[in-house]
């Protein structure tokens, strides 16, 4: 058993990380702190999940969110997608293993992956609406959010959701408010099977190793850790029994990375744009200097008068 996090003291404690620990801030440049905090991570062991949704309930409760009463369309997913209130969602897949012909019930807890290279943050145009702490947590600061939805386009995992109520973006905070006072995420705390565990990223990788060995010994030869390098690794990782094909887990991206479209939009397009506008302005200035204004001469006026007084009859102009 993974040793559960100790309960915190009831005495008020100063937060363990804050603005001084930012390594990235949307639409801003920050000087990263000299010393990075120990990276944290949440490890979700898909093979241990029983789909009870205790984590979903705990998340709603801790974040003081209320989900709308939904409609049953014959699937277990409830709600049907992530919403501005539901930062996490159990996604159920019935998968027939072609090798064993067994029906496998794959249940993946979806939610923000807390990417080391967060596409949401890269895309965000509002200074300080998305921040990344040196412990790896990517958090949305709602006071600065303008509701543009750029983070949706930037995220390789389709995570942020924009609220129709206040037009601000919402997603899993990795319980930054709990972690800041030494507690684990609410979802991890609520999980009855320890399918969700939380700790330092190194500890989580080590714990995952043990789990993967166990799974391999039970015949899941492709069991492995999902910590995708395309986004620099993540601070929410999965243990998958079929790590060779993550897409069978309700479309978990195989080798996710920030879309090249987003990279172009947020990179070369900006420089090319400023350069093009600057060049165009420069061309007009240079033309203005070298060719001078185009002025109407008195001769033109006279000719015009002639033309007006004796209109050219019928000739083809």
């Amino acid at each position: 058993m993974f040793p559960p996090l100790p309960n915190p003291t009831t005495a008020p404690t100063p937060p363990r990380f804050g603005d001084q620990d930012l390594i990235r801030r949307s639409a801003s440049t920050v000087t990263p702190p000299a010393k990075r905090q120990t990276e944290v991570a949440k490890l979700i062991d898909v093979s241990k999940c029983i789909g009870c949704k205790a984590c979903q309930s705990a998340c709603l409760q801790w974040n003081d969110m209320v989900e709308e009463v939904g409609v049953n369309v014959g699937v277990y997913d409830n709600p049907h997608d992530l919403t501005p209130a539901s930062f996490t969602l159990m996604r159920f897949t019935e998968w027939e293993n072609p090798e064993t012909k067994n029906l496998e019930w794959l249940i993946r807890k979806d939610g923000c992956m807390h990417c080391e290279d967060p596409g949401c943050l890269k895309a965000c145009p509002a200074p300080g609406a998305i921040v990344q702490y040196s412990n790896g947590i990517v958090d949305f600061v709602h006071d600065n959010c303008i509701g543009c939805g750029y983070c949706v386009k930037g995220c390789p995992f389709d995570i942020p959701r924009i609220s129709k109520v206040d037009n601000k973006a919402y997603k899993c905070t990795l319980c930054s408010d709990r972690v800041a006072v030494g507690q684990g995420p609410a979802c991890a705390k609520a999980c009855p099977t320890q399918a969700i565990v939380f700790g330092t990223k190194d500890d989580m990788k080590q714990w995952a190793d043990g789990r993967i060995k166990d799974l391999k010994s039970r015949g899941f030869k492709n069991a492995g850790l999902y910590d995708p390098p395309g986004v620099g690794g993540t601070h929410v990782m999965y243990v998958l029994h079929h790590a060779d094909k993550p897409e069978i887990y309700a479309g978990l991206p195989n080798n996710p990375r920030i879309s090249p479209l987003v990279e172009i939009w947020k990179g070369v397009a900006k420089y090319a744009g400023f350069a093009a506008i600057g060049a165009m302005a420069a061309v007009t200035v240079v033309h203005g200097i070298f060719s001078g204004a185009s002025r109407v001469s008195p001769h033109d006026e006279e000719k015009a008068k002639e033309m007006a007084e004796k209109p050219p009859a019928g000739e083809n102009a």
Binding site: K164, N167, L261, A269, T284, A293, R295, M307, E309
Partner: protein, 243 residues
């Protein structure tokens, strides 16, 4: 308005230099009041769009959101400016699409564009109501506005967020920001042209230009006006319409 007044307003400040012999110019009506209002509303819409759009384009321009009451307001209002611009340009389009149709003369004009840029307009083929460059601005602006409203709606998260996939939104936002750049480039040329060819501004401010301006830049058009039945478009200094 007396004719002398018109002479001063239309020509003196714009086209003639001090000391030039004074020629009482012919005054030519170029745009109706309605067309000018339509133009300036469209232009105003464009400026508001550019300011509110570029506010989100790059962090160095984010301060522009202050003009619109902050980030949330800028994000909210920009697409509505877009709708306004679309309607405004539609008005201009209905007014002017016919006179902006391509004519063979445009081809030879384009071949001689270097002569035009050098300011030797007398050596250019005669031009009708609009020259090639003006037509190009007209059509490109039209096409770009269609592209901008199309991509703009796709990224209009508040109302249309649910109708497209994330990948479609990514394409749309990239095209939208590139389109904005191209539009601003065209706008620069458009404004520069109007300033470079002195005497042009009065067309959009007062609706009238001097005969000399029309003779220099749009001779074919002036010829047609002088010949046409609707002679009240061209007025001689004595105030009597040309025959």
């Amino acid at each position: 308005m007396s004719v002398t007044n018109e002479r001063r307003e239309v020509v003196k400040g714009d086209a003639l230099e001090k000391g030039d012999p004074v020629v009482e110019p012919v005054v030519v009506v170029r745009y109706s009041t309605a067309a000018r209002i339509n133009h300036w509303l469209t232009a105003g819409g464009f400026v508001l769009l550019a300011l509110s759009g570029f506010a989100l384009f790059h962090p160095s321009l984010y301060w522009l959101t202050g003009l619109f009451g902050g980030g949330q307001w800028t994000r909210t209002i920009h697409p509505w400016f877009g709708v306004f611009l679309f309607l405004g340009f539609t008005g201009l389009f209905l007014r002017f699409w016919r006179v902006n149709l391509w004519s063979p003369a445009d081809g030879s004009w384009l071949k001689n564009i270097h002569t035009f840029l050098a300011g030797d307009e007398d050596k250019m083929p005669e031009v009708g109501r609009f020259n090639f460059a003006q037509k190009a601005v007209f059509w490109w602006m039209g096409i770009l506005i269609l592209i901008m409203i199309g991509t703009g709606v796709v990224i209009w998260e508040q109302y249309f967020g649910a109708y497209t996939t994330v990948e479609q939104k990514r394409v749309a936002v990239l095209v939208h920001s590139l389109g904005a750049i191209v539009m601003v480039c065209i706008l620069i040329v458009h404004i520069y042209g109007a300033v470079w060819a002195r005497g042009t501004m009065t067309a959009m401010v007062k609706g009238k230009v001097s005969g000399g301006w029309a003779f220099k830049h749009h001779r074919m058009w002036l010829r047609q006006l002088a010949r046409s039945e609707k002679t009240n478009h061209v007025r001689t200094p004595t105030g009597t319409p040309a025959e």
